[in-house]
């Protein structure tokens, strides 16, 4: 057996691993733990929506339209959160809606982070004209107000779920590119990079294996907050009728549908908004905790 001589992995019993240290630091933040719990619950609901939801989100029970939730008069235990004007069960729709929102949030985060990392690394590594071009394009994207840019993109490629993801991804791309470029630039000037270069490490390995892991903490924080922003943005597009199209149980679109019922059946309008608020708030709480735990420079509070 060859002896493992890589020093950083050798630890004494008192030194916790990086993951454990992170968890200890994260656990201290009560809000972050609450956020994590709620986010986990929403994720579980989204995954098991077909098991948990009492009905299909599109099933119309025409005999039970506009039922109020159980806590108000006339509520029916068969439909705990009431029904909408078409007799669709609100609870089932909200549960299936979490799938759409989380799917949008996560796909936007993954795609924009991967693209952002590649572009940011390219800009910092090549410098010169490539750096300038990438930065100018990001400046352009940022000069158009986020929702207006999303509207522009959706107007060109048409409103549906996939195009919402494309639009919101483009809107949030500059954050990742700029963050990645800035931290890669500061890492590239450090001694360990020079050492790696001297020992003959190729550029691809240098960027993705040597430099990238050291830039990860701020990226992870940005990614967590990016998920919640993407969910809000997509819900806004849905509300304007430019996102997922009815009858899909998308929270923003459900809200827009219920606008006219604001006085007569306020719960149909209120519930999807509460779902959005709880999800986004929980992710942001978690993101704040992540930031405090991962980024010691920002850990002041």
């Amino acid at each position: 057996m060859p002896v493992d001589v890589t020093l950083p992995t050798q630890r004494t019993a008192n030194q916790p691993g990086p993951l454990l240290a992170f968890w200890h630091s994260f656990r201290e933040n009560r809000g972050a733990v609450i956020g994590l719990t709620v986010v986990s619950a929403v994720i579980l609901i989204a995954i098991f929506a077909s098991v948990l939801a009492p009905y299909d989100p599109l099933d119309q029970f025409r005999d039970f339209t506009r039922l109020p939730p159980i806590w108000s008069e006339g509520g029916n235990w068969n439909y705990p959160l009431g029904t909408d004007p078409l007799g669709r069960d609100m609870l089932s729709r909200l549960m299936y809606g979490s799938r759409i929102s989380l799917f949008i949030g996560l796909s936007v985060m993954v795609v924009s982070m991967i693209t952002g990392v590649v572009l940011g690394l390219a800009a910092s590594w090549f410098g010169g004209i490539i750096d300038v071009i990438i930065l100018r394009i990001m400046d352009l994207i940022m000069s158009i107000p986020s929702l207006v840019l999303a509207i522009l993109i959706v107007a060109i490629i048409g409103p549906n779920l996939t195009n919402t993801i494309v639009a919101v991804t483009i809107v949030y791309l500059p954050r990742y590119v700029r963050l990645m470029r800035a931290s890669a630039l500061s890492e590239l000037s450090k001694d360990y990079v020079t050492a790696a270069k001297v020992s003959g490490v190729g550029p691809l390995r240098l960027m993705f294996v040597t430099v990238l892991p050291n830039c990860l903490p701020p990226l992870i924080v940005q990614a967590a907050l990016g998920v919640s922003d993407a969910i809000l943005e997509a819900a806004g597009l849905g509300f304007l009728g430019l996102g997922a199209q009815p009858p899909a149980p998308e929270w923003g679109a459900m809200l827009a549908d219920a606008r006219d019922l604001i006085t007569s059946h306020p719960w149909v309008m209120a519930l999807p908004g509460i779902a959005i608020l709880i999800t986004v708030l929980a992710i942001n709480l978690m993101g704040d905790g992540l930031r405090d735990a991962l980024d010691p420079r920002l850990k002041r509070s």
Binding site: S143, L152, A155, G252, G273, R300
Partner: protein, 337 residues
């Protein structure tokens, strides 16, 4: 300073060019030929089609069309709305004051509430005030503002009857000429009794809704910036020489803590206009945001193109001014890089 100004100006030129290119391409990429949109349901003879193409310059090579577009923009020609046949520049500036009035009020509200909230939270760090205020701030930051607006309408207008549901002015009771386009000022100029209060009442809910997210950002930013400054030596010195806490916090610390906050406020114009799109839609506020959304519904692509061009140019110019002012008061910025 002059070199800094030149460099910053030079940086915006490519951005503007790219913006022109993107909006130019947009009208080419949307489904539906502009001629087909115009001719409507009825058929059209091939001669008339060619004539129309020539009129609109669509028979020219694309680069020529782009140059014509840029030339037009530079001369203030942003195209003509398909629906109303009015010049887009005219339509835009007819509606823009409403958006400006709403945005300025929202920003004022956010600043006047957000900075004190952040200062209180920082000076009571970890305490009940701090936790409550920051909890509210994070909720505000996570708020889907279209839902928030509807809930406020439900409570304030429909249930309590305190504020009007939509619009800028009660047209049944008041009519006054638009002088500045800002209702708060126009209503005062008109001298009609109650007109100013009416305009103010219409503004309250939209201002709160549009101001919520910036308020949360400003409060959080002020708090973290204050916490940083409160650890500085000169704050300790000020405390040590026996200055009362309100002077230490309110003057010594706050002045320096506000620098990053002011930058955030200045650079929030873009997100404010994005929020205005939703706010105006909810409250039927006749501004450019609502107009933009309606243009999509009407497939009025020239209006969409011109509107996006104008809004983005506005954001670029405001950000440029913020940058330049910042460079003016902070020499470290101008000499960086």
């Amino acid at each position: 300073m002059f070199r800094f100004l030149l460099r910053r100006l030079a940086l915006t030129v490519p951005t503007f060019l790219a913006l022109m290119f993107v909006t130019f391409m947009m009208i080419r990429l949307v489904p539906g030929d502009p001629i087909e949109v115009r001719r409507g349901e009825r058929g059209i003879s091939p001669e008339r089609l060619a004539e129309l193409r020539h009129e609109m310059g669509l028979d020219q090579p694309v680069w020529k069309q782009f140059l014509d577009y840029v030339w037009g923009l530079l001369h203030g020609d942003f195209g003509v709305s398909i629906i109303t046949k009015n010049p887009i520049l005219h339509e835009f500036f007819h509606l823009f004051p409403a958006t400006v009035e709403l945005s300025v009020c929202a920003l004022l509200f956010a600043t006047l509430v957000g900075i004190p909230a952040g200062v209180i939270a920082a000076s009571r760090r970890g305490g009940l005030y701090d936790q409550t205020l920051m909890g509210i701030a994070l909720t505000g930051y996570s708020m889907p503002i279209f839902w928030w607006g509807l809930i406020l309408i439900l409570i304030m207008s429909n249930t309590l009857g305190l504020t009007p549901v939509s619009g800028r002015v009660d047209l049944v009771k008041y009519y006054y000429p638009q002088v500045t386009g800002l209702m708060l000022i126009d209503s005062l100029i008109s001298g009609q009794k109650g007109a100013f209060l009416d305009a103010l009442r219409h503004l309250i809910l939209p201002t709160i809704v549009l101001g919520t997210v910036p308020l949360a950002i400003i409060a959080r930013m002020t708090r973290s910036s204050m916490l940083e400054v409160l650890e500085e030596d000169y704050v300790r010195t000020a405390r040590a020489k026996g200055l009362p806490p309100y002077r230490v916090i309110g003057i010594h610390a706050l002045r320096n803590a506000l620098i990053p906050v002011v930058t955030v406020i200045g650079l929030s114009v873009g997100s404010l206009l994005a929020g205005a799109v939703l706010t105006e839609t909810i409250f039927s506020w006749p501004g450019v945001g609502k107009w933009l959304i309606e243009s999509i519904g009407r497939r009025d692509y020239p209006a969409l193109q011109g509107g996006i061009m104008l809004i983005s140019s506005f954001v670029i110019v405001v950000n440029l001014i913020v940058d330049l002012t910042y460079g003016l008061i902070n020499p470290r910025i101008r000499h960086a890089r």
